[in-house]
Symmetry: C2
Subunit: 327 residues, 2 copies
Amino acid sequence: MVTIKDIANKSGLAVGTVSRIMNNRGYISEKSKKKVEDAMKELNYQPNLMAQNLSKTSSNLIGVIVPNIEHPYFSTLVSEIESQYRAKGFQTIVMISYEDENNEKELIIECRKNRVFGIILCSENIFSENFETNGIPVISIERFHVNGITSIICDNFQGGKLATLHLINQGCKNLLCICGKGKIDMPADERVKGFNEVALNNNVNHSVQIATYKFYQSMDYEKIIKNALTKNKDIDGIFCTSDVQAMQLISYLSREKILVPKDIKIVGYDDTFVCKWSNPNITSIKQPIKKMVKASIESFIAFKNGENIDQTQVFPVELVARESSAL
Amino acid sequence: MVTIKDIANKSGLAVGTVSRIMNNRGYISEKSKKKVEDAMKELNYQPNLMAQNLSKTSSNLIGVIVPNIEHPYFSTLVSEIESQYRAKGFQTIVMISYEDENNEKELIIECRKNRVFGIILCSENIFSENFETNGIPVISIERFHVNGITSIICDNFQGGKLATLHLINQGCKNLLCICGKGKIDMPADERVKGFNEVALNNNVNHSVQIATYKFYQSMDYEKIIKNALTKNKDIDGIFCTSDVQAMQLISYLSREKILVPKDIKIVGYDDTFVCKWSNPNITSIKQPIKKMVKASIESFIAFKNGENIDQTQVFPVELVARESSAL
DNA sequence: CTGAAAGCGCTTACAG
DNA sequence: CTGAAAGCGCTTACAG
């Protein structure tokens, strides 16, 4: 493995000088610069990131802890995180917690071992007093602010309202909301509040079907969907708090020979790529993932610079109309 | 940040001794061990992985370069890689190439900078002479062996045969195969060969619809599906070389009021989680992802130990029958 | 503009 | 069984 020493020898300069040239720090003569660049090229040199991080005061590593990367929301989110952070010179370490609190503790320790610059944590267990990050800043996405963790969320309440208003505008009279419920209050719960408020204000029949956490984990909502629809016979509009639910709902209704959007109109949430994989395509509420990820980067940097960070940052959502809610 | 020095001070031992105790290397007295453990606990110490990797001859890092992590095949694969490698003490660095050769070159350089133990590369551009990994072992998954890169693949030919035989056994007389086509020969091309062979041997009408790469990239096969089905009017069995295709095919056929499996039977490939998200559920060919990932770990370790590694490792597949091909 | 030295936090022979 | 020293590959003041 070629090291900075080899470059120093080759170019006839001291190691420190080479380092300064490579990092463009301080005064540099053109001649030396050229020599170093030539040597680097000739020896095909790549600096050792671990050595760099070790000697610098802070690393370029970002720990990303998510429950899974198979759910389309998370695969999209992680994908966006990876590319935006890389573009800014950070390196992400993606870690999968499977929603298990002990795993999460382990992974946070792993982040600490890596001396990460920051941690993005998407967790249900975020309240835990056991999460000790020793001064490493933590940002959560779509989780509430707690324990000093900065929280980046979309306007879930508004999302719920938009979806519901849309269904009403499309003529629905009997609404159902299918939502998940975890161990703690989640920002996504606000979607249901938005649903309830709009339905109430518009005097529309409405009910809520709660799916326990295991449905979310298995990404298999069939039973809860069946349950909800046998209980509520004359539903004509359903707001699913995730596209994955909406997808499976459409599959279920197709099986039951119930027509979407004719008999029942549907709105999903997240606007993930699967929205286009069903017949009909799924109308959905879009989170501005790109902006949310960008905000997380800015917050980490602000924190690093000792600036104040908003504890909770809320981003507007929009409705993307497709076939599943058409007239 | 607490360091090994703090542990040494606290426990009244030398830094080297503490290191030996932490790594369980060489003779250790119970008394000293206890002292160190107590100090570690008291100071909430976590060793600095970068320092460890720097002083060791090899790192515990594995670079994982994939075209994307949104496609269900890759999200499943990456998820499996992350969890199996972590269990073995490795840390994966997931990198997304977006199928771009320049990105891939950059990412390989990034791997080199990280002094990774090995690279898992899922690339279309694997033939490139420009991939210089400087002695770092590379394993490809579902790509052919080339340039000394170890190749782990499933038995695609067998998969194609299984799928086709199944369709024929289910009574199909006019078969279509929808497949992707990249810049280079891919193991997945063997699926089509298996299709052709079985169809020929059984004297069944058959044709192949090739989807160019851009369809794969966009995960949007609608046009090619439409094209294939307007060209071939009396198809009654379709082998899709990915579940994503099958998913969208089912959506398309539903739109066209063509019944699956009554009018057309369908078999997908990869057996990803989306197979259960459509009506009907998708019959699919299952790759033994877990075993393939396991094999990659073993190969890296074997390489490290100077052992010989099979250049190409082929894993058997199986057909998972669901509704889309039912009688 | 450049070099020498100290330091980042570990590990690893080598003595004892 | 343990300590002291050298080294991993960088960066960063500090002189000059």
